[in-house]
Symmetry: C2
Subunit: 349 residues, 2 copies
DNA sequence: TTGTATGCGTTATCAG
DNA sequence: CTGATAACGCATACAA
C-alpha cells in the first residue's frame, strides 16, 4: 500500500488540494472547521508528503551533499558528517554522503551524483580538486569547505590549528620536556591544494617551531618526522606513526615527548613505544590531534581537539544561509584546544 | 545557472524529448544520427537528469534509508553503512543515514523521514521497535535487518557469532589459559527485542560457556561480567570495559585472559590493565569482538571480526532484489572469525 | 476563506 | 524509427 497523495486527502476531507496544502504548510487562511477535517483525513489515511514531488515543484530538494575524504579510516570525518546531519535534520534537511578517498576522479563522480540528485548545496570535508568544485558553481550549487581550504573555488570554515598546537607545546614544555619530537603530515605530501597561504600542515608544523622557540628549546631536525597520516591500503592504520616512532626511539638520544598531529598517528606511536617496553607517560609523553581515537587508546590520549560538532553544525547553517539568502555569513576561524588525559606527564629525569 | 532540462536538450538536438530519453536510457530504437546529435547536445549544455523528476515519474527514488544505532560511538556502524553505500553506488542508488541512538522515538522520526523521502527500501543496523518497523510495511517499503534480528516484522541477515567466539576460546585455551574472563553485553540489558530465539548476546555468552567446556575448564561466575557495551553519555566510551576489568583484576585469583565481546569494551580493558601495571599479553591476554578499533589499540588487538563489508554489500543486494522482484533472496548466516594480533599470548606460569 | 488551473522535468504510452 | 501527450504529486498564482 503506497502512501496516499495530497489529492486523496483533499477528497476525503471534502476540500480542494489548495486547502490541504494550506493547512499542511501552516500558511494562508483556513477555517478552523476545514483545518480540522483536513487534519483528520491526514491522520486517517496516514498521509505523508512526497518529498520528490515537493522538490520538483519547489526546485529544492532539501538535501545537501557532504563530500568526505575517507569515512572508515578517520573518525574525524564521521564526526563532522554526523553533526552536519544532525543540524540538517533540525532544518528539515537530509544529507547525502560521498567518500572520495583522496581521488579526484572519485570526487568528480560524487559531485555528478550530487548534481543529479539536485542537492541544494554541498559541504566538502575536504575537497580534492578545484576543477571538480567548479562543476558545482557551474550548476549553480553553493559549496563550502570545512576544516581546511584546498581551493579558492569555494569559501571555507577553517580551524585555528595554531592555538591548540601551541597549547600542546606549552603543556609539554611546562612538564619539563626538552626533546620534543614532531610526527606530522608533510605539507607537500598531503596536498597543498590550490589555496594560497599556509596549509593545515604548515600551521601545525609552524606551531611546533614556535612552541619550541617560546620554551627556549632548540630545533633538532632528527626529531622531525614528516609523512602521510595513513595509507589507505594498509590495515593497522596507525602504521605511519608506528614507523616514525620506531625511528625516533632508535635515536642515540631519544625524545621524551612526541607531538603527533593526528590521533591515528599517535595510536601508532603508542604501539611502538609499548613494544619497546617503555611506559607512557613515565618514559615518554605523547600528544595527538583531533580527539577522535583519543579516549579509546591506552593510555587515554592527551590531544588537541578539533571542533567537530561546531564544524558540522556551523557548516550546515552557513550553506543554509547561502541557499536561502544567497549570501555567506562570516566564516569564523574555529579554535582547536588541548584536552589533557593520561598520556602526558613530567619529563623523566 | 541551473542545470538544463531534457527538453532543452531535445530542442538543441532538433528531436523530441522521447528520442532524447531513448538515447539516455539506451533502450528503444534510435538512429545513429539522432543519437549523435543528442549526445552532442547533452555534452554541449552539460545536461544532467533530474533525479527528483525521474523519481516522481517512476515512483522510485533510487534511494534507500539506512537506520543505524549510533555511528559516532561504534565504528561498526560506520563500516556497514559505508559498504552498503558502496554497493548502492554500483547500482545507481544513494543511501540516507539516520541514527536512532537506541531510542524508539528517534527511530520513528527517522522512519517518517525515510517515508517522506520515498526511499525504495530500508536497512536496519539495528532496529529498535517492531511497531516502527511495521510503519514501513504499511507504507509498502521493504525492510531488512542487518547483523541481528530484533523484530519478526522484517527479515534479517545475521552473523554467526558462535563460530568466531568458539575460535577465540579455543585460541585462548590452546595458549594454556585456564582462567578466562568474559566481559559482554547483558542479554537482558541490551534489549532482546521481539524476535524469538537467542540474541547476539545469548550466542556469544553461550559460546563462552561452550568454549570453556570444550577445553575442560570450569565456569566461574566471578569471571563473568555482563553489562552494557557503552553509555552514550560518557566520554571515554570504553569506560564499561574499564570498570569491569578493574573488578576482575581485584579478584583474589585474577584471570589470565579476558574475552570482551566488543572492541570498545576491550579498549577499556586494555586501559585498566595498563593502569594496573600489567602487560598484555605477558601477564594477561585480551580478545575483542568486531574488529573495529582493534588495529589501532595498544597492543594491536586479537579480535573476532564481524563481516562488515559483506553485511553492507549483501544487505544492499538483498533489498535491491526485494525492490525489483518483490522477493527476498536466501539470507545466509555470515561467519565471524578470529583475527590474531598481539594481545594474546601464552598464559603466564 | 476557498477552489481552479498550471507547471516542475521525466518517463511511458500511444500513434504515426 | 520518431513525436505528441498524458501522468507522477505538489505548490502557487490567480480567481472567486
Amino acid at each position: 500500500m503506497k502512501s496516499a497523495t495530497l489529492m486523496q486527502v483533499a477528497e476525503r476531507a471534502g476540500v480542494s488540494t489548495a486547502t490541504v496544502a494550506r493547512v499542511l504548510k501552516a500558511k494562508g487562511y483556513v477555517s478552523e472547521e476545514a483545518r480540522a477535517r483536513v487534519e483528520a483525513a491526514v491522520k486517517a489515511i496516514g498521509y505523508r508528503p512526497n518529498a520528490m514531488a515537493r522538490g520538483l515543484r519547489q526546485r529544492r530538494s532539501f538535501t545537501i551533499g557532504h563530500m568526505l575524504d575517507a569515512i572508515i579510516v578517520n573518525p574525524f570525518f564521521v564526526n563532522v558528517a554526523h553533526w552536519a546531519e544532525e543540524e540538517a535534520l533540525d532544518h528539515g534537511y537530509k544529507t547525502f554522503l560521498f567518500n572520495h578517498n583522496g581521488l579526484a576522479e572519485r570526487e568528480r563522480i560524487g559531485i555528478e551524483r550530487f548534481i543529479e540528485r539536485r542537492v541544494d548545496a554541498v559541504l566538502f570535508t575536504n575537497a580534492v580538486s578545484t576543477e571538480n568544485v567548479r562543476l558545482l558553481a557551474a550548476a549553480g550549487i553553493p559549496a563550502l569547505q570545512l576544516e581546511r581550504s584546498r581551493t579558492p573555488a569555494a569559501p571555507a570554515i577553517r580551524v585555528d590549528n595554531t592555538v591548540g598546537a601551541l597549547q600542546a607545546m606549552a603543556h609539554l614544555a611546562g612538564l619539563g620536556h626538552r626533546r620534543i619530537a614532531f610526527i606530522g603530515g608533510d605539507p607537500e605530501l598531503i596536498g597543498r591544494g590550490d589555496t594560497a597561504g599556509p596549509t593545515v600542515e604548515d600551521e601545525r608544523l609552524a606551531a611546533y617551531g614556535a612552541g619550541l622557540a617560546a620554551a627556549g628549546l632548540a630545533f633538532d631536525p632528527a626529531l622531525l618526522r614528516l609523512g602521510k597520516y595513513y595509507s589507505l591500503s594498509e590495515s593497522g592504520s596507525g602504521s605511519e606513526g608506528y614507523r616514525h616512532t620506531r625511528a625516533l626511539l632508535a635515536l642515540p638520544e631519544r625524545p621524551s615527548a612526541i607531538f603527533a598531529t593526528c590521533d591515528i598517528l599517535a595510536a601508532g606511536a603508542l604501539q611502538a613505544i609499548y613494544e619497546a617496553g617503555l611506559r607512557v607517560p613515565d618514559d615518554i609523553s605523547v600528544i595527538g590531534f583531533d580527539d577522535t581515537l583519543a579516549a579509546n587508546l591506552t593510555p587515554q590520549l592527551t590531544t588537541v581537539a578539533q571542533p567537530m560538532e561546531e564544524l558540522g553544525r556551523i557548516g550546515f547553517r552557513a550553506v543554509l544561509s547561502a541557499i536561502e539568502t544567497g549570501t555567506w555569513p562570516d566564516q569564523p576561524l574555529l579554535p582547536s584546544r588541548l584536552v589533557q588525559r593520561r598520556s602526558t606527564g613530567p619529563a623523566p629525569t
